[in-house]
């Protein structure tokens, strides 16, 4: 881990203790309000990867992943917001609307997209249409729906960055990342720019940040859930003994903690490992997050089933992470390409 990462970990921990921990349940129930967003912005977290000349903090990638992990361990929604803003919106804005980046980094202008549309070279399921100098259409299940900037595909290899004319049609309570909100929007705008050929260099750039970024959130989710359950099994007694004193409980949690720490070590050294290894960590860590969070609920018994205990959100978010933020089939193809030299597994 770099010295910067250590400093960042300390700063983010301090920020989360002060501004997130006490509001984590409120974020789940009501979403992230502007106050939280601006507080994150004021510390430079919102535009963490943006170049300082565009209002960002320009921190190194390793520190960014550390930051995501810490945020995710308290509130995965906040980490998801940071990942979308920095790893998808950032590269697009740099290519299309640099003048808007400062406002985004300051939390005065929101930016959103369907992350799954920008993490593979497969044809995105939802697109907007460009016609007669306008961008039109509807998008379903958009995280953080609302006014601001919307980035959406308009053809197989082009995307539009839309600055106005976005109307929320319906909002709903999703399974995962409830702090972001979720809803359908309609778009009718003449205020946009088009980014052509994004599946080349831009996709590579997005993936080089999204792969470890998703891993960081997966490990943060796991860390948050295992921290909670470790505390709980220490204080909770059943049949006159602490839960931790029962061998299946202590062994299982110890195994999960060991796996987590091995993967965290890998993540901490992300700066020195290549994209292939980052992909492998993503596939492994997202699966691990589902396992660890399920165990955390189980050992909490009935209490784990209630949102007040702050454990069930990690389980829910572990699913959203591996469905919303990545394309598992595409990643499997990439993995087989790395291992066999060709995209195998699809006959």
């Amino acid at each position: 881990m770099s010295e910067n990462s250590d400093l960042i970990r300390g700063a983010v921990e301090e920020f989360c203790q002060k501004s997130i921990v006490g509001r984590a349940l409120e974020i789940e129930r009501q979403g992230m309000d502007d106050g939280i967003l601006r507080a994150m912005a004021s510390q430079g977290f919102l535009g963490a990867l943006f170049d300082p000349q565009y209002g960002g903090s320009g921190i190194d990638r390793s520190s960014f992943f550390t930051m995501l992990e810490v945020f995710a361990s308290y509130s995965p929604s906040t980490a998801a917001k940071l990942l979308i803003t920095n790893s998808i919106a950032g590269p697009f804005l740099l290519n299309s609307a640099r003048e808007k980046m400062q406002e985004v980094a300051q939390g005065n202008l929101k930016v959103t997209c369907i992350p799954g549309s920008f993490v593979s070279d497969r044809v995105p399921a939802q697109r907007l249409k460009e016609s007669g100098g306008r961008i039109k259409g509807e998008l379903k299940n958009l995280p953080s729906p609302g006014s601001g900037i919307l980035i959406a595909p308009i053809s197989e290899d082009s995307a539009a960055v839309v600055f106005s004319g976005i109307k929320v049609l319906e909002e709903r309570k999703p399974l995962s990342f409830r702090g972001l909100g979720n809803g359908d929007v309609s778009v009718d705008s003449a205020d946009f720019t088009v980014v052509d050929g994004w599946k080349g260099k831009l996709l590579k750039e997005i993936l080089s940040s999204m792969d470890p970024g998703v891993s960081a959130i997966a490990l943060g989710i796991s860390r948050g859930a295992l921290r909670k359950v470790s505390e709980y099994v220490t204080v909770r007694k059943t049949f006159d003994h602490s839960l931790k004193d029962y061998s299946p409980v202590s062994r299982r949690i110890s195994e999960l903690m060991s796996d987590l720490e091995i993967m965290e070590f890998y993540l901490d050294n992300m700066e020195s490992i290549d994209d292939d290894k980052a992909l492998k960590l993503k596939v492994r860590s997202t699966e691990f997050a589902r396992t660890a969070t399920k165990a955390a609920i189980q050992y909490h018994g009935g209490y784990g089933y209630f949102e007040d205990f702050g454990v069930e959100k990690f389980y829910r978010d572990s699913y959203g992470l591996s469905i919303m933020m990545m394309d598992r089939e595409y990643d499997n193809l990439r993995l087989s390409e790395k291992i066999f030299g060709s995209r195998s597994g699809f006959l």
Partner: protein, 373 residues
């Protein structure tokens, strides 16, 4: 060995399936899940249809399966108004049965079973809520936690400590029927559940609540035995809920794959997906066989707790497994559709009516004590 049900049980399954498909629409399921509200209208319809009848346990088992297959939250809510009724059926006096059991069987009242306490759970014998006998009345003080129907039940079958334990902790426990409208009895609805949000859950607070001694079920001091007998039955029903959930998740997967096929994407149904589907189907079938075997012993009054525990543990883990795999296969369609509700609902199966860990201890200890397969 005959693996087929009799015609009347098959008919009960068919009726339940038809009822579920017509009465539990996806819109209704979403509404009650979102509002975290008991679906009174569906419950009343289910009771009026006479399909909720715990005196016909095989019929009840397949009915629970079919209702939970369409929506676990409403499916459970529609059948849980008699929760704990077996305790009365098996151990209560005729007077108590007439007064309390009849109205719930006729759909005029709702009952609940109150065992778990704050800080308690698996350790049933460690409960602390006391009932002291004074002048022909029991005076109850304490609280109960995570009680299904807690806020809406007319009365509760409640496990209480009536005398100090001797060398065995489970001694000194008794079952009383406690009306929900008594002075000193208050309830707090518990909200923010991960799933089964159409079911009502509450904390019960009892502050000097007076209950007539005639409300004692069976004999004083035998409460632990009565409740364990009940759990042995209710665990088979939880296994049925779990099978329904797993089957429902598989229905969602099959509908999704059919849509892929119909839209010319058949080649995307990889062998990997087919293997997963096969695993789900096999586990559901194994859960059914185990559950029906456990039920067969139970309903013939020859219970084998270790088989019931195997059924409950395996079926509940199958429910979670099926939902998790279904989410993987269906991706965004599952995440933003009705399947995600099944995932949330499924997790409680491994926790309530005996966690998987408790079931595994029951199984292991049976064989350590010399039990045979």
């Amino acid at each position: 060995m005959d693996f087929e049900f009799s015609e009347d049980i098959n008919k009960a399954r068919e009726n339940a399936r038809n009822f579920a498909l017509s009465a539990i629409t996806p819109e209704l399921a979403r509404k009650y899940d979102l509002e975290e509200k008991f679906p009174e209208e569906v419950w009343k319809k289910a009771m009026a249809s006479r399909m909720v009848d715990f005196s016909n346990p095989w019929s009840m088992l397949v009915t629970i399966e079919e209702l939970c297959r369409v929506d676990p939250g409403i499916g459970i809510a529609a059948t849980v108004s008699l929760f704990g009724s077996e305790v009365l059926m098996l151990f209560a006096s005729d007077q108590l049965k007439e007064k309390y059991l009849k109205p719930v069987q006729e759909g005029r009242a709702i009952m609940g079973l109150a065992v778990t306490e704050p800080g308690g759970g698996s350790d049933v014998a460690g409960l602390k809520t006391e009932a002291k006998l004074e002048g022909g009345k029991y005076i109850i003080n304490g609280s109960k936690m995570f009680i299904t129907n807690g806020q809406i039940a007319d009365f509760f079958v409640m496990l209480l400590r009536t005398s100090r334990p001797d060398s065995k902790r489970h001694h000194g426990l008794s079952v009383l029927v406690v009306d929900g409208n008594l002075k000193g009895f208050s309830r707090n609805k518990l909200t923010g559940k991960l799933g089964v949000r159409a079911t009502n859950t509450a904390e019960l607070i009892l502050n000097n609540v007076e209950v007539p001694s005639s409300n004692l079920v069976g004999e004083e001091g035998k409460g632990f035995y009565y409740i364990m007998t009940f759990f042995n039955i209710s665990r088979a029903y939880v296994a049925a809920q779990s099978i329904g959930i797993a089957q429902g998740a598989m229905d969602h997967v099959l509908a999704y794959l059919k849509e892929m096929k119909d839209s010319g994407r058949e080649s995307e149904i990889t062998e990997d997906i087919q293997f997963t589907l096969s695993d789900i189907a096999t586990r559901i079938e194994a859960s059914r066989l185990l559950t029906y075997k456990a039920a067969s012993y139970l309903f013939n009054f020859q219970p084998k707790p270790e088989i019931t525990s195997m059924a409950k543990a395996y079926a509940s883990e199958t429910a979670v497994f099926a939902c998790e795999k279904a989410m993987e296969i269906t991706g965004e369609s599952g995440l933003y559709g009705d399947l995600e509700r099944f995932l949330r609902d499924s997790k409680i199966m491994e926790i309530w009516e005996g966690t998987s860990e408790i079931e595994k201890l029951v199984i292991a200890r049976t064989f350590l004590k010399g039990g045979q397969m």
